[in-house]
């Protein structure tokens, strides 16, 4: 049983309350009486899905601020409050259990004239029909999940197969190899053991132990004593030879310097002589200049005194000594001449002083050079000679000690050679006397080689075990990937191919039932991602949706929606039909509703056109004709 109560929903202004029985409920009333509003109230309470703002405006009665709907279906209760806030209408749900009545789309349980499917069928528009199908089934999501899970499964399978190849190949090959090597190693080991245990070997080892001791002693003598001494001696000789070479090189350098000195000595002496001559001339010039300066200075003093006297006489009328009358013009000329002479002499003295200074400096320079040259020649010659004598003595001394050392080294070399020959002779005898020893060594080498190969193969097997573990893990991943792939494959198959099959069966059954157009099949074109209907009339003539009658279009809408609802939400007990059946006559109407309501708990139909058939023809139904 369904109970619905509410207030201010669509055309139902104020409070209202209805009870609907299980099965088919038909709401019959004229246009505008509130049938659609009642269906909206149902839908609003139980849909729990996104309803557009535009639709919400129609849900609340015009000019009302608050409304509500409560629906009781069997033991479940749904309640929704609806409020107008400014230009917006807001809904608030309460008592909604997430596990029940969750509609992927309102269009699955609520058929209206504006349904995309109905519009698509009326207009014969595949796009409308396809978009409706994808929207209500959400098949596009599952199609994507399927595609991704298919790719993922392929990836995991590839990884697993790669590992499988590695595991089987490596393990089998390496195990065979190890078995073979172990067998060979055991054989070699057996041979060695039998040789070591043989009387021949034991006897020969005993007999020759004395020789072996001698070999050891000889080796010790050669290696630790003679060779060490020889090495030490060789090092000393080498160092001394190096030192002599170094001394010789230095001596050579000194000799070159002495030769160079001797070769340049006459030139340097000539230079010295020239410089001495130059110095003597400079000294002579200096004396001469000095004399000239002194003479000029004396003249200067004399002229200065004379000038002073004449200057005094200019202003006198008579001479202070002889008292004769003086001519001032004459003395003025005399003073002027004296001043000119004085100036000339001053310049001359100055010039002579400068010259004197220059000569003096040049003389000093020459003398310094002469001194340096003399000292340099004297010091270098002595020091070079001294060095040469020391180095020559060193070389002689070192050369005297070398031959003795070289002799001792030669003796050691000879001694080592003798001892080596002795050792070799004993070893040869030993090798001849113990042939098994060499064979055992050879076999031991082979045995070691086999063991190395076994270890390598075992390491590889260990790696294979790692691959084995990874393979087992990958196998587990493949199983889980297969399970997920199967889940989405079945889901997508269910939502598409299974659904189309069901739609086809239901459509054909219903068309047969109602004796309408013969519908050949509904096809899902995956390439185009579209649904389209292939319709055939009874006389085998194909037709289009557009050319079908209104009743046929309604029937197709009804059947497709109902089948898809049954496939997607089979537990949803409610199916609401608002006016879409109007075009059908009463007989077809009652037949198709009986077909649907037999498989759905609650079917509610709103119809403005009165139903003239008998109510008993509608199974489990009740008609509410005057509910307003």
């Amino acid at each position: 049983m369904i109970e619905i109560e509410g207030e201010n929903i669509g055309g139902l202004r104020g409070p209202f309350k209805f009870t609907l029985q299980n099965g088919l409920s038909m709401l019959h009333a004229p246009n505008g009486s509130g049938k659609s509003s009642l269906l909206r109230a149902f839908h609003l309470a139980i849909a729990n899905t996104n309803i557009s703002q535009e639709d919400l405006n129609n849900y609340l009665t015009e000019k009302e601020i608050n409304g509500f709907v409560k629906v009781f279906i069997d033991e479940n209760e749904f309640e929704v409050q609806i409020q107008r806030k400014g230009e917006k209408v807001i809904i608030t749900y309460s008592n909604v259990d997430d596990d029940i009545f969750k509609f992927p789309s309102e269009e699955l349980s609520f058929i209206r004239a504006k349904s995309d499917l109905y519009q698509g069928i009326i207009k014969d528009d595949d796009t409308f029909i396809s978009s409706w199908f994808y929207k209500v089934t959400e098949a596009h999501k599952y199609e994507l999940f399927l595609e991704i899970s298919t790719n993922t499964l392929t990836d995991y399978k590839t990884t697993r197969d790669d590992l499988k190849k590695k595991v089987s190949k490596d393990i089998s090959r390496n195990r065979e190899e190890i078995n073979k090597l172990q067998k060979e190693a055991e054989e070699i080991s057996g041979k060695i053991d039998s040789m070591l245990d043989s009387e021949e070997y034991k006897l020969s080892m005993k007999e020759h132990s004395e020789k072996k001791d001698k070999i050891d002693k000889l080796r010790e003598l050669i290696n630790k004593n003679l060779t060490n001494r020889k090495t030490k001696l060789s090092d000393e000789i080498f160092k001394e030879e190096e030192a002599i070479e170094k001394l010789k090189r230095e001596l050579e350098k000194i000799k070159k310097k002495i030769d160079n000195y001797d070769a340049n000595l006459p030139i340097m002496q000539e230079k010295l002589r020239k410089n001495e001559k130059k110095r003597d001339k400079l000294e002579e010039d200096l004396d001469k200049t000095k004399d000239q300066r002194l003479t000029a200075q004396q003249n200067l003093t004399s002229i200065r005194n004379e000038l002073k006297e004449n200057e005094e006489l200019i202003n006198r009328e008579t001479c202070p000594k002889c008292h004769q009358k003086l001519d001032p013009v004459f003395y003025k000329d005399l003073v002027a001449k004296g001043r000119a002479e004085l100036k000339k002499l001053e310049t001359q003295v100055k010039s002579l002083k400068t010259k004197e200074r220059e000569i003096f400096l040049e003389t000093n320079e020459i003398e310094d050079e002469l001194r340096e040259l003399t000292n340099f020649l004297k010091i270098n010659r002595e020091s070079l000679n001294k060095d040469r004598i020391i180095k020559e003595k060193d070389v002689k001394k070192k050369n005297e000690s070398l031959p003795d050392k070289k002799k001792r080294r030669k003796q050691l070399t000879d001694e080592i050679e003798v001892k080596n020959k002795e050792l070799l002779a004993i070893q040869e005898v030993l090798a001849e006397e113990i042939p098994l020893q060499n064979e055992i060594f050879k076999l031991q080498g082979e045995f070691n080689g086999k063991n190395k190969l076994i270890n390598k193969s075992e390491e590889e097997i260990e790696m294979s075990s790692e691959y084995q573990l990874r393979y087992l893990k990958a196998e587990g991943h493949v199983k889980r990937a297969e399970a997920i792939h199967k889940c989405y494959s079945e889901r997508f198959h269910h939502l598409t191919f299974e659904t189309f099959k069901q739609i086809n069966e239901a459509l054909m059954a219903s068309f047969d039932l109602l004796n309408l157009a013969k519908l050949k099949k509904i096809v899902f074109d995956k390439k185009e991602n579209k649904l389209f209907l292939d319709i055939q009339r009874a006389n085998n003539v194909y037709t289009t949706l557009e050319k079908l009658s209104g009743a046929e279009k309604s029937l197709i809408t009804l059947i497709i929606t109902w089948v898809v609802k049954q496939m997607v939400i089979p537990d949803e007990p409610l199916f609401i039909i608002d006016e879409v059946t109007t075009e059908m006559d009463d007989t077809r109407f009652q037949d198709i509703l009986n077909y649907i309501s037999n498989k759905t708990d609650y079917v509610i139909v709103a119809r403005h056109k009165p139903y003239k058939g008998k109510q008993e023809n509608l199974a489990q139904s009740h008609i509410i004709s005057t509910f307003v």
Partner: protein
């Protein structure tokens, strides 16, 4: 250790959430599926 069972209902809900909330959901869906597969 026993293999962890796949909770298909939970996976379904998570994938639909990813699909609804992402503009390019393919990578995120693949990541989620792999996570469920490898979380064994």
């Amino acid at each position: 250790m026993a293999e962890k069972k796949i909770d298909f209902k939970k996976l379904d809900e998570e994938l639909i959430n990813i699909y609804n909330s992402s503009k390019k959901p393919t990578k995120a869906i693949e990541k989620k599926i792999k996570e469920v597969i490898e979380n064994d």
